[in-house]
C-alpha cells in the first residue's frame, strides 16, 4: 500500500515526477497532509530533482500556496531542484496575481521540465 494519500510519485531518469491526487486542494486536513508528504520527499527520501505536475488540480486555496512556498524553501535549503508543470490557465492566474510566478520555476509540460533537469 502506498504511503502517500495525496500524491503519486514516478521516477523518470533520476527525476521524481509528482502528481497530485486531489482535484481541489482546499480543506485544512488535506493541505496539512499533502504538505507533509511533499516535505518527506526532500527530508526523508533525499530526492533532489522534483517535478510537480498540476494536471489533476482544478483549484487550490492560498493555504495550499503557503505549503508550496514552504516546500520550495525546503527544496532550496537542500539544494534540490523544483519545477512546476501543467498548470491550468485559472491556477496560473493565481500565480500571476500573487507574483509567485517569479518565485517558482514553471514549465508548460513535464517534458519541458525533464529537458532542463
Amino acid at each position: 500500500m502506498s504511503k502517500h494519500r495525496h500524491i503519486t510519485v514516478n521516477e523518470s531518469a533520476n527525476v521524481s515526477v509528482i502528481q497530485f491526487t486531489d482535484e481541489k486542494i482546499i480543506d485544512s486536513e488535506t493541505i496539512q497532509e499533502l504538505g507533509q508528504e511533499l516535505f518527506d520527499l526532500i527530508e526523508q527520501e533525499q530526492r533532489n530533482k522534483i517535478v510537480l505536475n498540476f494536471s489533476n488540480v482544478e483549484f487550490l486555496s492560498s493555504a495550499a500556496l503557503g505549503k508550496l512556498i514552504t516546500f520550495d524553501k525546503k527544496a532550496k535549503k537542500s539544494k534540490a531542484e523544483l519545477i512546476l508543470t501543467n498548470i491550468s490557465p485559472e491556477i496560473y492566474q493565481v500565480f500571476i496575481i500573487t507574483n509567485l510566478d517569479k518565485l517558482f520555476q514553471i514549465k508548460d509540460s513535464e517534458a519541458d521540465a525533464l529537458a532542463v533537469l
Binding site: 482546499i26 480543506d27 485544512s28 486536513e29 483549484f59 486555496s61 492560498s62 493555504a63 500556496l65 503557503g66 505549503k67 512556498i69 514552504t70 520550495d72 524553501k73 490557465p89 485559472e90 492566474q93 493565481v94 496575481i97 500573487t98 507574483n99 509567485l100 517569479k102 518565485l103
Partner: protein, 165 residues
C-alpha cells in the same frame, strides 16, 4: 459621467439569493455552501473561468472569517449572503470577530514578502473580483464580480454597501 455600459451593468439583475450562517470550522462544511453557490451560477450560465474566481473569493473570505475573524470559536458564526445573476455576483460575508484593517496586511507581492507562507488571501480576493469593500471595523466584506467589465475597476473602500436590489 456614467456610461451606458456602466448603467447597464449597475442594473444587471440579481435573481437568486443564497444565504447561510456557517459554523466556525475549517473542517469543510463551508465548502459545500460554496459548491451550492457555484451550482446556482452554473445554472445561470456562468463559465468555468469565472466560477473559479467566485470560488477563490468565497473560499478566502469565509476561511479568513473562520480562522482570523472568529478564531475558530464554535460559539461564533460566519454569515454569508450571495445575490446571483447571469452577469453579476454580489456577496457579503460577516464574521463575529473584532475586525481588522485591510491596509495593515503586508503586500504579499513585494519582493521581501514573496517567500512568506501566508498573507495571499486578500490579494487573491481583490485579483478575482471587480469590487471589494469593507465595513468600518473590518469584520464585514462586500464582494462584487461583474462579467464583461473585467477586474480592472477593483477598488477598496471602507464602506459596506447594503444589499443591491
Amino acid at each position: 459621467m456614467i456610461t451606458f455600459a456602466e448603467l447597464r451593468m449597475a442594473t444587471s439583475p440579481l435573481i437568486r439569493t443564497v444565504e447561510r450562517s456557517l459554523p466556525s470550522s475549517l473542517a469543510g462544511g463551508y465548502i459545500e455552501f460554496i459548491q451550492q453557490v457555484l451550482s446556482e451560477l452554473t445554472k445561470l450560465g456562468w463559465q468555468q473561468r469565472d466560477l473559479f474566481g467566485v470560488q477563490m473569493a468565497l473560499e478566502e473570505t469565509i476561511s479568513n472569517g473562520i480562522r482570523h475573524g472568529n478564531k475558530e470559536d464554535p460559539n461564533k458564526l460566519v454569515h454569508v449572503q450571495c445575490r446571483l445573476g447571469p452577469n453579476r455576483f454580489w456577496a457579503q460575508i460577516r464574521d463575529e470577530g473584532k475586525g481588522f484593517f485591510p491596509d495593515s496586511v503586508p503586500d504579499c507581492c513585494c519582493a521581501e514578502n514573496l517567500e512568506a507562507p501566508g498573507g495571499r488571501g486578500l490579494t487573491l480576493i481583490r485579483g478575482f473580483m471587480t469590487r471589494v469593500s469593507y465595513n468600518e471595523c473590518g469584520n464585514c466584506i462586500t464582494l462584487e464580480k461583474r462579467l464583461d467589465s473585467g477586474n480592472s475597476s477593483t477598488c477598496h473602500t471602507r464602506s459596506t454597501s447594503p444589499p443591491p436590489k
